[in-house]
């Protein structure tokens, strides 16, 4: 449980981190909260030669409202998101998701940017980020690049971040009117990861669903938008009949994961049931 030898560099600014990454390239890994990277290094499943620590860069940790968006710095911890008044008021899905994540140590130290860049197939954030139509800002020597959440997750542990890019910020568009949001999860009893995690972000007007965005994690090798469920909800009253017809499509079009804890068939069933619960929880909150 001792990692292979590596050099450690604490970057003082994002620019310094970017130039260090350009210098060390594939030999380097970016250290954010370290709650996925360090265990993998201790197991020697990852053996980077250089760690570039972002932990000393203070201006990567913030939550603010700006330009009709909520902007969250990549080094903001899960706990800071969980307790943020700004987010509880304007985007409660994020604090709710943060509360489901890992344990207290992970939430205190782990960061939203680190989790997204690691892209564990059962992490909680991807579901919420997808349901919120977020944008991911990647910084490099060439400047900022904006990546849509739906383009960000490529496959297990793989994102569309290019070599040399560092995830800098997450931007969430401000909700139009009152949004009905919820995150529900089947928590793996040992790891705390999502066996199935469903984030919903709906707008309801006059008893009818105006827009629906549903992100699902844990079910497939990468988190995805349940677009068939979304289109079955749009324009309809969210009654029992609509919900059961819509939620049956929760795992359509994806490869469903299977492991010792949950077979593919069971996971698919969980996806259906928990998508329905997430929608019901969200709608009950705006009544």
């Amino acid at each position: 449980m001792i990692p292979a030898n590596f050099d450690y560099i604490a970057a003082k600014s994002l620019d310094e981190a970017i130039s260090l990454l350009a210098k060390h390239k594939d030999d380097a890994k970016i250290l954010a909260g370290g709650h996925s990277l360090l265990p993998a290094m201790k197991l020697r499943l990852m053996q980077p030669k250089v760690l570039i620590d972002l932990g000393r860069i203070r201006d990567l940790s913030y939550i603010k409202e700006e330009g009709g968006q909520i902007r969250i710095g990549a080094m903001t911890t899960h706990f800071q998101i969980e307790i943020s008044d700004v987010l509880r008021r304007s985007c409660p899905l994020l604090p709710e998701t943060a509360g489901h994540l890992g344990d207290m140590q992970v939430r205190n130290k782990g960061t939203v940017g680190g989790s997204l860049a690691h892209s564990d197939p059962a992490a909680d954030w991807p579901a919420a980020i997808l349901a919120l139509d977020a944008e991911i800002i990647a910084a490099s020597a060439k400047g900022d690049r904006v990546i849509k959440a739906t383009d960000f997750f490529v496959e297990m542990l793989t994102t569309s971040l290019e070599p040399g890019e560092i995830l800098r910020e997450i931007r969430i568009p401000a909700a139009k009117g009152k949004a009905a949001q919820a995150y529900v999860k089947v928590r793996h009893p040992a790891s705390g990861f999502a066996v199935v995690g469903v984030a919903v972000n709906l707008s309801i007007n006059g008893g009818k669903c105006q827009s629906a965005a549903i992100g699902i994690t844990g079910v497939s090798p990468k988190a995805y938008r349940a677009s068939k469920v979304e289109s079955a909800l749009k324009g309809n009253a969210l009654d029992a009949k609509t919900l059961s017809a819509a939620c049956a499509h929760a795992a359509d079009g994806v490869d469903v994961n299977s492991d010792l804890y949950a077979s593919a068939e069971y996971r698919k069933q969980l996806a259906t049931v928990y998508t329905r619960r997430a929608i019901e929880t969200a709608t009950a909150r705006v009544k």
Binding site: L45, M46, P121, A122, E155, M156, P221, D255, D259, L260
Partner: protein, 154 residues
């Protein structure tokens, strides 16, 4: 763990079968295969860097091709060992002519043990599916390519 499925490739069966028993092409198709050395009749020793995203392990593996019935069937037996654990498995491939295209039906049984099995259990099946997908993608590119030399190995 079971891996099974069918894959359709728009190339003639003879060409696909020739590719599947050609070590030079197999090396390109097997994800992360850096080296493949003949040790006997249809027996090979390979060095693989296998994994997903940044999590990778180096494996040395023996690969043998058995029960070869050209151009329709063979069995691929792989045993790999590395720092993160071991992989042992065999798979049977059946090729069916489908009007100029070929349908490959594959079924395999793979055992994964050691460290990767204990800490990576929840990702093993998805990783196996992903690597299988990559195998057939490269096989498709190699066999559909208009360059006939690609099916004889270079």
């Amino acid at each position: 763990m079971k891996i099974e499925g069918t894959q359709k490739i728009g190339a003639p069966r003879d060409r696909i079968f020739a590719a599947l028993v050609d070590p030079a092409i197999l090396q390109k198709c097997i994800p992360g295969c850096e080296q493949m050395e003949k040790t006997g009749d249809n027996q090979y020793k390979a060095k693989l860097t296998a994994g997903v995203g940044p999590v990778k392990g180096i494996f040395t593996a023996t690969i043998s091709l058995q029960e070869i019935v050209a151009p329709e069937h063979y069995k691929l037996v792989v045993e790999g060992k590395g720092q993160p654990g071991f992989v042992k498995g065999s798979g049977e491939l059946n090729l069916r002519d489908d009007g100029g295209a070929t349908e490959i039906q594959y079924t395999g049984d793979v055992n994964v043990g050691g460290l990767i099995a204990s800490v990576g259990q929840r990702m093993i099946q998805a990783t196996a599916n992903m690597l299988t997908g990559r195998f057939f993608k490269v096989l498709e590119a190699e066999t559909i390519s208009n360059n006939p030399a690609s099916s004889t190995g270079t």
